[in-house]
């Protein structure tokens, strides 16, 4: 665990709304190892994106990181000034967002937007920066990069734009690449291209990557480790194979069961988790999943669930798992 590039410790990001405090992320801890891919998976509203933005310190009012520690290589990110953080963003930590169609500034050329990042963080400028941009565009598989440098985003397709965004994110060869649902808005065949590219780039640069997704297919294609979130909290964390083969938390189990697989037959059972995920505004104590949980018992509504190192190799946050583990 010593070569962790990023340590997140008890991160709590809350939003002060009129209706109350939305605890979007409420006590999240994990470590990211160099060169590894961590997938954060969860349903909409589970706090995945807020986690990513907290790491980047992109949370805007009324949101605020109320507690926790984010340590990037020995630097406490939360203690940095905004200016120091700006130097870090796009440079040591790159980020890719969900919707490539709206993620590029429509009034600047592709070239300008890549060059801007390069100029901001390196000593390159002018022709050199442009040359670097061309190189990056070639790297992410944009054909005829020289000619397309002066094109505007609207002249690019969705897949191509996502490639441009990847080029921007890796322009300074970051230590960490955060990809927030990078393929959700894309078609299947394009998604495959982008996933291939991401995986390729991550390996080439040797960066660590946090990949946020709701698609367990993507997780299984990309992840080394998996962190499952539910309602702002972590429910299970572990090696990808462990999580898929041996999910311990009832939510993880339900989620895996809900997936419709290509080899399912028409007669196979369609399983789902009953009920709806809660909105974590001023949540009561106890496990957030208990109302939908098949294994819930009294304790779940009274105490926050404990962190349990399971015998199967994952970490689960669950009273029921704790009980199972404690049982002989």
């Amino acid at each position: 665990m010593s070569d962790a590039v990023l340590k997140v410790d008890d991160l709590r990001t809350h939003f002060r709304l009129r209706a109350g405090t939305l605890k979007a992320v409420d006590g999240l801890s994990f470590e990211l190892q160099a060169g590894r891919v961590l997938c954060i998976v969860g349903e909409s509203g589970s706090g995945k994106s807020v986690t990513a933005q907290s790491i980047m310190r992109l949370i805007m009012p009324p949101g605020r990181i109320v507690q926790g520690g984010i340590t990037f290589r020995d630097q406490d990110l939360l203690a940095l000034t905004e200016r120091e953080m700006e130097d870090l963003r796009g440079n040591r930590i790159g980020m890719i967002f969900q919707d490539p169609m709206t993620s590029l500034n429509p009034v600047f050329t592709i070239g300008e937007q890549i060059v801007e990042t390069i100029v901001a963080h390196t000593s390159l400028s002018g022709e050199d920066a442009r040359a670097r941009a061309v190189e990056l565009m070639r790297l992410v598989g944009i054909p005829e990069p020289e000619g397309r440098l002066s094109d505007y985003p609207h002249q690019f397709s969705g897949g191509m734009r996502q490639r441009v965004l990847i080029a921007i994110a890796i322009a300074c060869e970051p230590d960490i690449l955060i990809a927030d649902e990078p393929t959700t808005a894309l078609d299947v065949t394009i998604q495959a291209q982008i996933l291939r590219l991401l995986s390729d780039v991550q390996k080439k640069l040797g960066s660590a990557m946090i990949l946020i997704t709701h698609d367990l297919g993507v997780v299984s294609a990309m992840a080394d480790e998996v962190l499952v979130m539910y309602s702002g909290r972590m429910v299970e964390y572990g090696d990808v194979k462990t999580i898929f083969r041996n999910p311990r938390h009832p939510y993880t189990q339900g989620l895996l069961d809900s997936i419709i697989k290509l080899d399912d037959s028409r007669e196979s059972e369609l399983r789902s988790i009953s009920g709806l995920p809660p909105i974590p505004i001023d949540p009561p104590p106890g496990c957030a999943f208990r109302d939908r949980c098949v294994k819930a018992f009294d304790l779940c509504g009274e105490q926050d669930p404990p962190w349990v190192e399971t015998g199967t190799g994952s970490t689960a946050v669950c009273h029921a798992v704790a009980a199972e583990e404690a049982a002989p």
């Binding site: 009012p61 200016r83 963003r89 993620s103 429509p106 600047f108």
Partner: protein, 322 residues
């Protein structure tokens, strides 16, 4: 781009046609007969009839309109009935005076509106923002004639810093500095409301733009906050800002009548108001037309500017010509 400009120019034709028709009809609908000023209270009805005849006011309206339009198209606005001046000679200098005031007011409104709006948007719900919102609401609701009077009361009469009326000092004045001194109070009075409106629009637009994904991306790229605000956000906020700025300039060019009255500023709005009171039909028509044309042209300029700044419109043409 060329196509866009040509198309946009074509849409002006029917509007200008409608404007001219509307102007014509309005001027002729006014009650009160111009011959009463022309012949005085002691004239007989026959004399009035003769005058009407000689001015062509007895012809059917469509005929009058046709003649008027054909004259206008040849650049002839006709002669003022009230004072025998060529209408063009009369209204263009007045329009120029209004334009001077409009441009300074607009400049003030743009500077204040832009800075206040951007600054307020950069820290939403902060103290400056609240202050800006309150200010815009205040200045947006102040009756302009009242505001003008207050300014005169304070700056001209109480403190005696600035002149109260007119465009130049009557005696020994007229130099550029004199004109500038005379401009200050009317500019503030005329520019306050547009500044408020622009500030409000800029703030709303900037907040909208700042919530866009590409701003988040720019921040994630590590671009400095100020650069994001100035470059990324402002550049995208330009079209709506340009539109509101154009609209405000258009209104100011139309003559801020109240300001012109309060400060005895010899502008086009005041001229039109005088012409309406004198039933001076050629002047009413000329002045309304020039105001409407100015407004339409400013809007055209804004549209062309917006088209130019929008790569989608600019580039579509570029691709085609390649």
């Amino acid at each position: 781009m060329t196509r866009f400009i040509v198309m946009r120019l074509l849409t002006i034709v029917p509007i200008m046609f409608g404007v001219s028709f509307f102007v014509f009809i309005l001027a002729h609908l006014a009650p009160g007969d111009v011959t009463t000023t022309l012949t005085g209270p002691y004239a007989t009805e026959e004399t009035r009839e003769q005058i009407r005849e000689s001015l062509g006011l007895n012809e059917p309206l469509p005929v009058q309109y046709g003649k008027w339009l054909s004259h206008i198209l040849q650049g002839e606005f006709g002669k003022s009935i009230a004072n025998r001046r060529m209408v063009a000679e009369l209204i263009f200098p007045k329009f120029a005076n209004s334009a001077i005031l409009a441009l300074t007011s607009a400049a003030m409104a743009y500077v204040i509106g832009l800075f206040a709006g951007i600054f307020a948007a950069s820290r939403p719900y902060g103290y400056f923002d609240r202050f800006t919102i309150a200010g815009t609401l205040m200045f947006g609701s102040i009756p302009p004639y009242w505001f003008g009077l207050l300014l005169v009361l304070l700056f001209s009469l109480t403190w005696r810093w600035l002149p109260a009326t007119g465009m130049t000092k009557i005696v020994g004045g007229g130099g550029p500095i004199d004109v500038i001194l005379h401009l200050i109070l009317p500019t503030i009075a005329a520019g306050a409301a547009p500044a408020a409106i622009i500030a409000r629009t800029v703030r709303a637009t900037m907040l909208e733009i700042l919530s866009q994904n590409y701003i988040k991306v720019a921040r994630a790229k590590g671009i400095r906050r100020g650069v994001i605000l100035r470059k990324h956000a402002l550049r995208n906020a330009l079209p709506p800002i340009a539109t509101i700025c154009g609209l405000q300039l258009g209104y100011l060019l139309g003559g801020v009548l109240f300001v012109e009255v309060i400060f005895a500023w010899p502008g086009i709005g005041y001229q039109l108001w005088q012409a309406i009171q004198a039933r001076d039909i050629p002047t009413i028509q000329g002045a309304s037309l020039i105001i409407a044309v100015a407004f339409v042209l400013v809007n055209l300029a804004v549209d062309v500017f917006n088209a130019y700044t929008d790569p989608k419109i600019r580039i579509s043409e570029g691709v085609r010509s390649r």
